[in-house]
Assembly symmetry: C2
Homo-oligomer: 219 residues x 2
C-alpha cells in the first residue's frame, strides 16, 4: 500500500511535499509482540499502518497499563512523532498485536511538510481531534461505566478484531487493557461464566451468548 | 485585551485574516455561574478569555460531572467551536466560575482563517495537543492515583486559584469536579480533618497544614 493510499489529503499536497514524504518514508515489518515506540523521550516518527494491528497504551509508574486505542490498516499514529508536536506532554507506548507492515516517516520531514501544506496541517488537526475523542470516550467509560459493561464491550471488540468467538487471552492481559487488577477481571469473568454467557478454559474465553453480552453493553 | 494579545501567532497572520477575525469578534461579559456552552449540538464559537475563570467539564448520562480543565486569562477554548473541527466526537460543557470577559469568534470565521493561514492551523494543532495532554493527565490520575492524593491536589489547586487558604466549597461541588460521589469526598475530608490537615465548617474548608497536603500529592 502506498502513502497516497493511506494519507487522504495526498492529492492536495504539492509535488515537492509528496516527493519529500516519499523519499524519506521507510517500509518496516515487525512481528507480533514488538514494541515500536516507548514514551515521549523517543522520536520514532510518524507510523502509517499498511496492514496489521497496533495497540497504543499508557503505563502507570508502577507498570500498570491501559489501552488507549488500536491502529488498524491505513491508520496513522501521530504520537510516535510527538517530539514534533508542540503541546504534547504525555507518554504512550505502541506495540504490535499482530505482525504489522507500516511506513515510517521521520518526524522532522513530516513537521516540515506540515508547515508547507495547509491541507496536511488541517488533516493533522483532524487526527489529533480523533485521538482526543478516543481518550475522552475512554475517560467517560472509566468514570461512569460499570465494570461488567466495560468487560462485555472489551470481549465483543476483541472477538470482532479476531473474527472469532474464541479468544486466546489471559485474565492478566485483559486487566492490562482495561487498567485494572487481574482479580477484578477474574471475578467478573467467573460471574459471566455462571450466567452462561461465556466458557472459560486455560488461556481461552469462548463467547456462548453474544446477545446477552450485547445487552450488557446497552444497559 | 485585544485579540492580538491573546493569539500568540497574531503577527504571522496576513492582514485579511486579521481583519476577518477582528471584525467578527464580539466582546462578551458573563456572570459567575453562567453556562456558556453546552454539548456538541451547540456551535457557540471560539472563546478567547480576557479575564476571569471558566471550567470545562464532561457530564455523564445520569448527570454526574468531571472537570476536564480550567480556562484562565488569555486561554483559548477550541471545543466551544467543535462543530468546525472534524474528528471531535465528544460533548463538553463550559461554565463561568468567576465573572468573565471574553472574545467570541464565530466558528465559520475561524475555520476560514485556518484554511488561509498555516500559522493559525499549526497553532490550533498545538491547542488541541495541549487539551489532549490535559485529558490524558486526568485519565491517568483517575486510573492510577489514590483518591486522597487527587483530593489533596484539588484542594491545593483551588486554594491557588482563590489565592486563599479558606475555600468556600461544598462536598457536593468537589464531588462533581472529581467525578465521584459526595459520600466519598466527605469521608476523605473527615480523614484529613482527623489528621489535622484541614478544618471543616459549613460550606468552608480551611487548609491548616499545607506541607502535609503537599506531601500527599508526592506519594
Amino acid at each position: 500500500m502506498t502513502l497516497s493510499e493511506i494519507i487522504p489529503v495526498w492529492s492536495d499536497l504539492d509535488r515537492q511535499t509528496q516527493d519529500a514524504l516519499l523519499s524519506s518514508a521507510q517500509e518496516r515489518r515487525v512481528d507480533k509482540g514488538t514494541i515500536l515506540h516507548n514514551g515521549a523521550a523517543e522520536c520514532t516518527g510518524l507510523i502509517l499502518v499498511e496492514d496489521g494491528q497496533l495497540r497504543a497504551y499508557a503505563l502507570s509508574p508502577d507498570g500498570r497499563e491501559i489501552t488507549l486505542y488500536r491502529l488498524l490498516d491505513r491508520d496513522i499514529c501521530l504520537f510516535s512523532a510527538s517530539c514534533m508536536l508542540r503541546g504534547v506532554h504525555f507518554d504512550l507506548t505502541i506495540a504490535a498485536e499482530q505482525d504489522t507492515r507500516f511506513w515510517l516517516i521521520p518526524a522532522e520531514v513530516f513537521q516540515r511538510a506540515m508547515t508547507q501544506s495547509i491541507a496536511l496541517s488541517q488533516y493533522t488537526n483532524q487526527l489529533m481531534a480523533e485521538r482526543l475523542s478516543d481518550v475522552m470516550w475512554l475517560l467517560e467509560k472509566v468514570l461512569w461505566q460499570s465494570f461488567d459493561r466495560r468487560l462485555a464491550e472489551f470481549l465483543l471488540e476483541e472477538s470482532s478484531l479476531a473474527g472469532s468467538d474464541e479468544l486466546s487471552i489471559t485474565h492478566e492481559v485483559i486487566a492490562r487493557h482495561l487498567g485494572t487488577a487481574r482479580e477484578v477481571v477474574t471475578r467478573m469473568l467467573k460471574y459471566f461464566k455462571g450466567e452462561g454467557v461465556i466458557t472459560l478454559t486455560r488461556g481461552t474465553i469462548r463467547i456462548l451468548d453474544r446477545e446477552r453480552l450485547e445487552a450488557l453493553t446497552e444497559e
